[in-house]
Each structure stands twice: as C-alpha cells, then as structure tokens.
Symmetry: C3
Subunit: 137 residues, 3 copies
C-alpha cells in the first residue's frame, strides 16, 4: 500500500471563511500516483473544518449565517476564562466536521457531480494547517 502525506496551509483574510480545496486534493492524488484508494483530508486545528458541499457562494453565506445562529459568538463561554475568545469557533467546527475521506477510483477522486471539498475557517487570519494523506495502490 502506498501512503503519501502532505500539508497545506491556509491564512484567510476574514476571520470566518469558506475556501474551496478540491484542487488541493487532486494535486495530492496526482503526486501520490494512486489508482485505487482514498484521500484523508483533515484539519489540524480545532477551530477549522473540512467538509464536502456545494460550490455556490450564496450557500456559503447561508452556512455562515446558520452557524452563527446555532453556535453564536458570545462572551460568556466558560472556555473564555482561559483568556481565549473563540469558543464559538470550536462549536462551529464540531457542527461542520473536521475531516473527510475522498474515494479514489481508476486514478481519480470518485466524487458526485456536485461534490466539492472545502476548508471552513472559524477563527482565521493566521496560519492553519490541513493534512492530506493519500492511501492506496
């Protein structure tokens, strides 16, 4: 079994941002040269997400509005007694998930027509890392 590992970095302009990253997974797959297998894409920071959904800006805004409603930024989280101010980002990331497995079939990412990979940033404007690990043969 081949295993290929790389790390990609994100430093978003906005504190909260959705960034397309299907291409990053495709590049890793090409570099790995795997025909049948899968790609693990996993956020290495605990206020970030990796998820699969639609490449549509309106929906990205809907997602952010919705996350703010379900897991609002507030002052009174207990986590903030440590000096942190980003408890909501931890909760948003829990809702959205932090990793996906993309199947590889016949040398390509085996995704549905509208499936696209995204990085979800909820406490950005600093360097954050995602691991991409390709497994297969």
């Amino acid at each position: 079994m081949k295993v290929y590992t790389k790390y990609v970095w994100f430093n978003t302009k906005e504190k909260r941002e959705i960034v397309p990253m299907t291409h990053e997974a495709e590049i890793a797959l090409a570099e790995a040269g795997v025909n049948e297998g899968f790609v693990l894409v996993s956020a290495m920071h605990i206020t970030s997400s990796v998820f699969v959904n639609d490449y549509e800006h309106g929906l990205w805004e809907d997602i952010m509005t919705w996350l703010e409603k379900l897991a609002p930024a507030r002052h009174d989280y207990k986590h903030h007694k440590t000096g942190e101010d980003n408890a909501d980002a931890h909760l948003k990331r829990l809702l959205m998930g932090h990793q996906v497995i993309l199947p590889i079939t016949k040398g390509k990412l085996d995704l549905g027509q509208w499936e696209q990979l995204f990085y979800g940033e909820f406490d950005g404007q600093r360097n954050k890392r995602v691991i991409i690990k390709v497994f297969g043969e």
Copy 2:
C-alpha cells in the same frame, strides 16, 4: 490490499426519508471478500446523508422533526437566488454527516449491537447515488 467499489441508488417516495442500508454494506462486503479492513459508505449528492444510529421508526421521526427545527426549510436562503429551493437540505446533510467508515473484523462488519447504517434523504424523489468502497485483505 483489495479494493472493491460499488454504487447503490436511492429514489425515495418522500422528499425527506431515512432508509436503512446496513444490508447494502453487508452485500458489498460479501462481494469484496475482505477479512480485515473497512467499508467506506459515502453519499455522492450534497443534500443526502449517510449515518449510523438506531433502527427505530419513532427515533427517525424525532430526527426529522429536530432537523427541521435546527435547519428549517425557508424561502429566504441566499442559495435560492440561483433558482434552487433546497438550501435546508444542504444544511441538514451537514448536521448529519455524509459518510461513515464501517470496520471489518474476521470477515464481518464490526458493529455494536444497536449500530445500523442509514441513508438520510433531505431532497429526494429522484435518483441519488451512494458509493460503497471496501478496503482490506
């Protein structure tokens, strides 16, 4: 490492429906003939979910009622400016997750007593696909 791929299709009668699919994963496992490994089951449409929970109709209704509360169908999503009307289905699928890994031990799905696999449809009444990919030896 053996890799075996198949696709299963769902076309639900209802727009929103939970459909048991443990048996689909068991069939794929039998076809693959793997003794130790895992099965990736992943929705290929971005308004569908794949998840593990209880085989109990009352709970399925609870899940649907709850999802409607947390991610309600509404007209005013920005995504709907594209002509779509299913933003809530995208959000419901994000809450429920779109893929699971089922471990295989000694030739069988290694699930807890009550663990069952389900397909969750949030924008149905049309053909939608799930990939099942078995990895192992």
Copy 3:
C-alpha cells in the same frame, strides 16, 4: 497491510461526560507497530460520540451546555414510546459525530498541536465500547 483491532470500554460516573482518550489511540498504535497509516476510532453505541477538539475543561462544559440547548432532554420524543428515555442522547451523538480517523506518520499520531481525542458520553453510567482499529505498514 497490517490491521490491528482492539476495544476499549467506558463506564462514566456521570450520565453525560467527556473523557480524554488520545492516550488510548497512542497505546493501540504502539501495540500495532505501524509506521504509516491511520487509526479508526469509532463508538460502538449509538448514544456516544468520538471527536477531536480541545483539552480544556471549560470548553467541555460549554459543549455540554450547547448540546443541551440544541438537542434537549425532553419527555415527548416519539422514541420514548418504545420505553426508552434517551432520544436526546441519540441526537447529541449525531451532532458530535461517532468516529474519527487519526493519521499515522513516521510511527506517530499525526495531530496538530492542540488536537486531542475524546469520548463523548450522553447516556452513561453503564459499560460502553469503542473500537480502535489501526491500519498501515
């Protein structure tokens, strides 16, 4: 490909509790002796969660408070017509996810600086099982 399987048990004092378990995954990795691969950690009960987030007690309290708001314990769930009383635990577990994949690189769990693994119990005070399965070479 090496595959190594073990099961760990939790019996929490509280009905709802977050229990650190990174060390359990590290032990399984050491026992498996894998250099490149991944660890699947998956709850085998459908009212429990496995997730990655911060080792910070205040945040754990925030998570529990937040889950109670989004998926409250209530009497009127349809699931309770079966005699069960834990529908909220099923919903909380759906929000938090029930499994993670931890990458292994150069013989170690390849986690970000703050990434820690947790078992989330939402209907505890009884024996519950988590499967840890290590794959790799």
